[in-house]
C-alpha cells in the first residue's frame, strides 16, 4: 500500500468515526467507551505479526507480552462491555420471587 493510500484511508476513517458516534445518549457513554476500547485491542494483530516473524530472543519475549496484552484488551474489553450492556437488556418476565430487590 502506498503512503498516500494509507493516508486516504486514515482521513476517511476519522470522518467515519465522528459521524458514526456523534449522537450517543449519555446512558451509553460508558459502554461505548468500553467497546471502542476493546476495538483498539486490534493492536494484537501487530503483536501476532511481530511474534509470528520474530527470529531472536528478545523479539520472542516482546512479541509474546504484546500478544498477551492485546488479548487482555480484546477479551476483557468485549466481555466487560457485554456485562454492562446486559444491564440494559429487557428482563424476559418479572420473576415470581424477584431476587433483584435485595433491600430486605
Amino acid at each position: 500500500m502506498s503512503l498516500m493510500t494509507e493516508i486516504t484511508i486514515f482521513v476517511l476513517a476519522v470522518f467515519v468515526g465522528f459521524e458514526v458516534i456523534s449522537k450517543v445518549p449519555t446512558t451509553l457513554h460508558t459502554p461505548l467507551m468500553s467497546q471502542t476500547n476493546a476495538i483498539h485491542g486490534i493492536v494484537m494483530l501487530g503483536g501476532l505479526i511481530v511474534l509470528g516473524y520474530a527470529d531472536d530472543g528478545l523479539e520472542y519475549v516482546i512479541g509474546t507480552i504484546a500478544v498477551a496484552f492485546g488479548a487482555i484488551n480484546i477479551v476483557g474489553g468485549f466481555m466487560v462491555t457485554d456485562r454492562m450492556l446486559g444491564m440494559f437488556a429487557k428482563k424476559p418476565k418479572p420473576k415470581p420471587s424477584s431476587d433483584g430487590k435485595g433491600g430486605s
Binding site: 460508558t30 476500547n37 480484546i74 433483584g100
Partner: protein, 471 residues
C-alpha cells in the same frame, strides 16, 4: 499440518480485514442505541475474531508455541478479570484494558525498530515516523492508564499529587521527547535503538507525571482521552506494518474517543488542556470558609426523612458514586416504589459526570429496573428543582456543590451542577461530612434547608423504605 495460507497484504487477507473493520463500524453504530447496543458489541467482537483468524493464517507465520502462550495468558486474564469485576469497578477496568492496549503498541514499536535496524538498511521515513509516534503515545497511554487505574482503585491517593515545578518538568520532558524524535528521524539510515528505548522511558515518565496531578471528577475525561490516544497509536502501528485493519480500527477509536472526551469536558465546563495542565490546584483543599473547624449542620434519622418524603408531592433523587459503592440502587428503587404507591412523583437527576464515568448512574439504576423515563438529565431537571419538595442526594457530592456557581474562587467554579439547593428541602444521605472526590468541602451540607442523614446509603434507603411503609 494442513493450513490455508494467506499472502500478507494480498487480496484475500485484505478482503477479510475489510469485512472485519466494516463489522467494527456497524458495531459502534449499533452501540449508540440502547436497543441494539448489546448486539452491536457482539458484531464488533465477531469482526475482531475474523481479523485475528485472518492474521493467524498469514503465510510465513511461525513461533506457534509462543503465539498460543500469549493468546492463552491474555485470554485467561481477560476472562477472569471481567467476570470478577464489580459494576462499581468498571471505570478502573476500562483504564486497565486501555493501558495494556497502549503497552502492546509500545512493545510492537520497539520490536519494529529492532527489526528495521537488524536489516541494516535505510529505515524508510514513512515507517520510522509512525513507529516513533506509536512508541511514544503507546508508552504514555500505558503508564497514564495505570496511574488512572491505581487512583480509581485507591491504590494511590485520589487527591491531586503535585510536585513544585511540575509544569516546567513536563515541558522539559516534552521538549526532550520531541528532540529525540527529530534526531531519530534525521538519522533514519541507522536509528539508534538506545535512543528509542530512552524515548519510551521518557514517555513513560511523562505519562505518570501528567496523570498523577489530576484528581477528582476529571479522571473520566483522562481515561477517555487515553482511550483515544491508544486508538491513534494503534493506527500508527498500522501505518508501520502496512495493515489496513489496524489503521481503520485504530483511527475509528481515535476519533470516537476524541468526541467522547470533548463531550465530557464540556459537561464539566472545562477545557481538556485546563484539565491536563492545571489539575485541581489543591489550594483551598481543606475547606472553604470554615477551615478546620466544624460548621453547623442539621442531622436527621431515617424516620424524619421518611416523613419528609412521604408527604411531599414531588421528590428528586440525585445519585452519586456513594450509591454505587454502597450498591444501594435496589434499596433506593424500593424507596421510590413506596413513594409512588402514595402518589408522590419521583424522578432521578443524573449529572453527566456523576459517579466515575458518564452513564455510570444510568447503568446502576437500569440494573435495579428503574424506568428509563424517570432518569432526567441535568438540563431537564434543574428548572424543575425550585418546584420540587424534597431533593434526596444519595452519595453524590461535588456535582451538587453550590460553590460551583456561587464562589468564583472555588476549584470547581463554573462546573454545571444539579441545583438541589433550589429545592424546598434537601436530604443528603452520606456517611460523613468528608469532602468528595475533588477534595473540597460542600457548602450544600450547611444550608438551612439541608438535612444530613449520616449512614451507609443502602442501609439508610432500606430504613427509609421501611419507615414509609409504617406511616
Amino acid at each position: 499440518m494442513v493450513r490455508a495460507v494467506l499472502e500478507p497484504g494480498g487480496d484475500a487477507a485484505t478482503a477479510l480485514y475489510i469485512v472485519a473493520f466494516s463489522l467494527f463500524i456497524i458495531g459502534i453504530k449499533q452501540g449508540t442505541h440502547p436497543t441494539t447496543a448489546k448486539r452491536g458489541n457482539l458484531i464488533a467482537a465477531g469482526g475482531m475474531a475474523i481479523a485475528v483468524v485472518t492474521t493467524l493464517l498469514l503465510d510465513g507465520m511461525g513461533n506457534w508455541g509462543l503465539i498460543f502462550l500469549g493468546l492463552g495468558i491474555g485470554t485467561a486474564v481477560g476472562v477472569i478479570a471481567s467476570i470478577r469485576v464489580q459494576m462499581t469497578e468498571m471505570p478502573q477496568m476500562v483504564a486497565l484494558y486501555n493501558g495494556v492496549g497502549g503497552g502492546a503498541v509500545a512493545l510492537i514499536a520497539w520490536s519494529e525498530i529492532r527489526h528495521g535496524i537488524s536489516l541494516g538498511e535505510d529505515f524508510p521515513l514513512d515507517e520510522l515516523i509512525p513507529v516513533i509516534f506509536a512508541g511514544v503515545v503507546g508508552s504514555v497511554s500505558f503508564w497514564g492508564s495505570n496511574i488512572a487505574f491505581a487512583k480509581l482503585q485507591d491504590l494511590i491517593p485520589t487527591r491531586p499529587i503535585a510536585a513544585p515545578g511540575q509544569q516546567v518538568m513536563n515541558a522539559v520532558l516534552l521538549i526532550a521527547i520531541v528532540a529525540i524524535c527529530v534526531i531519530l528521524a534525521v538519522d533514519h539510515e541507522s536509528p539508534s535503538q538506545g535512543l528509542f528505548i530512552l524515548l519510551l522511558v521518557l514517555a513513560a515518565i511523562l505519562g505518570n507525571l501528567v496523570v498523577l496531578p489530576i484528581g477528582g471528577a476529571d479522571m473520566p475525561v483522562v481515561i477517555s482521552l487515553l482511550n483515544a490516544f491508544t486508538g491513534l497509536s494503534a493506527a500508527a502501528a498500522g501505518f508501520a506494518l502496512d495493515n489496513v485493519a489496524l489503521i481503520v480500527a485504530g483511527t475509528l477509536v481515535g476519533s470516537s474517543g476524541t468526541i467522547l472526551t470533548l463531550e465530557m469536558a464540556t459537561a464539566m465546563n472545562r477545557s481538556v488542556s485546563n484539565i491536563l495542565f492545571s489539575g485541581f490546584g489543591g489550594a483551598p483543599a481543606g475547606g472553604g470558609a470554615g477551615g478546620g473547624e466544624e460548621r453547623p449542620h442539621v442531622s436527621i434519622g431515617a424516620q424524619d426523612a421518611a416523613i419528609k418524603l412521604a408527604y411531599a408531592d414531588s421528590v428528586v433523587i440525585v445519585p452519586g458514586y456513594g450509591l454505587a459503592v454502597a450498591q444501594a440502587q435496589h434499596a433506593i428503587k424500593e424507596v421510590a416504589d413506596e413513594l409512588q404507591k402514595r402518589g408522590v412523583t419521583v424522578n432521578y437527576a443524573i449529572h453527566p459526570v456523576a459517579g466515575r464515568m458518564p452513564g455510570h448512574m444510568n447503568v446502576l439504576l437500569a440494573e435495579a429496573d428503574v424506568p428509563y423515563e424517570q432518569l432526567k438529565e441535568m438540563e431537564e431537571i434543574n428548572p424543575e428543582l425550585p418546584r420540587t419538595d424534597v431533593a434526596v442526594v444519595v452519595g453524590a457530592n461535588d456535582v451538587t456543590n453550590p460553590a460551583a456557581k456561587n464562589d468564583p474562587d472555588s476549584p470547581i467554579a463554573g462546573m454545571p451542577i444539579i441545583e438541589v439547593d433550589e429545592a424546598q428541602q434537601v436530604i443528603v444521605i452520606k456517611r460523613s461530612l468528608s469532602p468528595g472526590f475533588a477534595g473540597i468541602d460542600n457548602d450544600l451540607f450547611y444550608e438551612p434547608n439541608t438535612s444530613m442523614l449520616f449512614a451507609d446509603a443502602k442501609q439508610a434507603a432500606a430504613d427509609i423504605a421501611a419507615e414509609i411503609q409504617n406511616l
